[in-house]
């Protein structure tokens, strides 16, 4: 499903796309699909193959592991990147907490996409580094 016209403007405020010009943002959004999920609907399924990289436009989602909610994701947050990068099934469910609107890139296209957009790759790496840092702090 091609994305609505407002998406290029919406992602202008997201850290992941902060380094892109307007034409670059427009090109980027055309690579993605748009998806909509109801409250309670699973977006990613723990242990299922064939995931994707999702970026939240509107709404909120829970990271749920073995039925327990661990964290909440909001607009500008992304998920699914770890399973895409590692080529493995997700280790958590992602569940819409209310109506959730996302853009999504299939896992098969993530490597090509990131190599074509180094600034997005760097921003994504920063995000992963923050997660590692926070986990390290929590463990210590």
């Amino acid at each position: 499903m091609a994305v609505q016209e407002d998406v290029a403007d919406t992602i202008a405020g997201f850290a992941l796309f902060a380094d892109l010009s307007a034409p670059q943002r427009e090109q980027v959004v055309h690579v993605f699909d748009e998806a909509w999920f109801s409250e309670g609907e699973r977006v990613l399924r723990q242990g299922f193959s064939g995931s994707g990289l999702y970026i939240i436009l509107e709404g909120a989602a829970a990271i749920r592991i073995d039925g327990v909610d661990r964290s909440t994701l909001r607009p500008g947050d992304y998920f699914g990147e770890i399973s895409c990068l590692l080529g493995e099934a997700p280790v958590a469910d992602i569940v819409a907490l209310r109506a959730l609107r996302c853009i999504v890139l299939p896992s098969t296209q993530v490597e090509t996409f990131l190599k074509a957009h180094p600034s997005i790759m760097f921003r994504l790496l920063q995000g992963e580094a923050r997660k590692v840092r926070n986990t390290t702090k929590w463990l210590s």
Partner: protein, 505 residues
């Protein structure tokens, strides 16, 4: 046709109303009728066919009906090779398209497709009130009230099968002719044509204009995908790749990955300014014609005001796995709009719910769902012997047209009930199987990952938890061999044991 003269279904209250008379509506009303569900069918059109009464503009379908397959044309297995016929229980009404095609192509012409739909509607005696235009919708108590050109209709259940055929143009292109506005092809002779959009409709126009136009430019921000590369129906189909080769061999076609900054009228022609995302470079084209091949939206009229949530450029309604509006219970969708029910969309590969070969099966599932959930009909289920389960599931993976056409989307479900035994629960949406609660069961689907040959995927629900088990692909697409039997037997051991104590290997 009898239905043109009778004008059935006068304004009033009905237990279910279907709006539309394209293939989606025809398939649904056929299936509802077979299940004995009384309903009204309303259509603005004068005859069956929906969008195939007009399009595709170059009058040839992209979906094939393969005449020689080794399977009887009235068999279920043949449906895998016939993407265009609607489904019928009676053998004479199956594979209708094979009887209306002239044999010069395995892609039917548009008139052949339209004739096939009219033939099906006549042969199965479908009753439709033609010339009745749905105009407004409101809710009154339990009922939806449809204001139409013939008066008001009331029902607690309405299925909209109105296609995704409303021309859509991005901001700035409002005054540009759309795909559907294409003039007679000879009027493009020796002209420079700029086509906005690089999906099938853009490449279809470019292909049709190749022998006539002086220059053709195809432009949109993202690179072209080809179906032969995606191993799916995502991307431009092989039949329309010729302009791409012309571009690569410098024959006069340009295929550009650019944003369209501005389209301006200049005397008899247009000036188009594009901007490259890569280097921000600006190019200006002086052309005679511009065509917006920018897609279509769903003609939902006032349904969003009623609370129907939509998403994406096509404004598709968000739907549950059984094609009910995700936000307004009682409103359902059929036909190509069913692509708004996403399913698992594994590896980014969509279902074929946007096309006849996909949504015809959705319609049958929806009819059965409505019959059971809304009308209290209990459909019979086949009871299986434990020793037959492995063979049954692998035969479905090898031959079931529902699974082949609707990969990762529709599945064959078998319930394992300690009291009732092992029961074939029919074809069901896979998303519902994996996400809704239910008894111990197994579902088999066929899946693709955009790289390898298709492979069976087994989903096992045991004590409320669903696990995925992927079987290996098979070069000859045969999943009934020893290796697959062994793998499936091992996967089902916990679910079926001890009932499946003696699997036949």
């Amino acid at each position: 046709m009898a239905q043109l003269e009778e004008r059935p279904f006068p304004p009033g209250r009905y237990s279910l109303i279907v709006v539309g008379s394209g293939p989606g509506a025809l398939q649904l009303t056929y299936c509802l009728h077979r299940l004995g569900i009384e309903h009204a069918v309303l259509s603005d059109d004068p005859a069956p066919g929906g969008m195939f009464r007009r399009w595709p503009v170059f009058q040839r379908m992209l979906s094939w009906t393969k005449p020689f397959t080794g399977f009887e044309r009235s068999s279920r297995a043949y449906e895998r090779f016939d993407w265009n016929s609607l489904l019928a229980d009676e053998p004479p009404n199956r594979a209708v398209m094979t009887g209306v095609m002239d044999g010069t192509s395995y892609f039917p012409s548009r008139p052949e497709m339209e004739k096939g739909l009219v033939t099906f509607a006549d042969a199965t005696s479908l009753r439709i009130r033609f010339g009745c235009r749905w105009e407004t919708t409101r809710k009154e108590g339990p009922d939806f009230v449809l204001g139409t050109s013939d008066g008001e209709y009331r029902s607690p259940l309405v299925v909209f099968a109105v296609g995704v055929a409303e021309p859509w143009r991005p901001t700035g292109l409002e005054a540009v002719p759309h795909y559907g506005d294409l003039r007679p092809v000879e009027t493009y002779k020796d002209r420079r044509v700029f086509i906005v959009g690089k999906q099938n409709s853009g490449f279809e126009i470019a292909t049709g204009l190749l022998p006539l136009a002086r220059q053709i430019v195809l432009a949109s921000p993202s690179p072209t995908k080809l179906s032969v590369n995606t191993h799916s129906l995502v991307g431009v189909r092989a039949r329309y790749v010729q302009p791409y080769e012309d571009s690569v061999l410098a024959g006069g076609v340009l295929v550009l990955d650019t944003s369209i900054d501005e389209v301006k009228r200049t005397g008899d022609g247009y000036q188009v300014r594009t901007r490259s995302a890569g280097d921000d470079g600006v190019l200006t084209f002086e052309v005679d014609d511009v065509v917006a091949a920018t897609g279509f939206a769903t003609p939902l009229r006032d349904l969003p005001d009623l609370g129907v949530a939509t998403f994406g450029q096509s404004r598709l309604p968000a739907q549950t796995p059984f094609w009910q509006s995700a936000t307004v219970p009682g409103i359902y969708f059929a036909g190509t709009i069913m692509q708004g029910s996403r399913g698992l969309k594994k590896h980014g590969i969509p279902s074929n719910s946007g096309a006849v070969q996909g949504y015809r099966y959705n319609a049958r599932v929806l009819a059965a769902h409505l019959a059971e959930e809304r009308f209290g009909v209990r459909l019979p289920r086949l009871r299986l012997e434990a020793s037959d389960v492995i063979s049954h599931l692998l035969a479905e993976a090898s031959h079931a047209p529902e699974l082949w056409h609707q990969r990762s989307y529709l599945a064959r479900v078998v319930l394992v009930d300690p009291d009732r035994g092992i029961i074939d629960d029919g074809i069901a949406p896979l998303a519902n199987f994996v996400d809704a609660p239910g008894p111990d069961a197994v579902a088999v689907a066929l899946e693709s990952n955009g790289r390898d040959d298709p492979y069976p995927a087994i989903y096992i629900r045991k004590q409320g938890t669903v696990t995925e088990h992927l079987l290996e692909p098979n070069l000859q697409l045969n999943f009934e061999d020893h290796a697959h039997r062994k793998a499936l037997t091992a996967a089902l051991e916990r679910l079926l044991s001890p009932s499946l104590s003696q699997p036949q290997l």
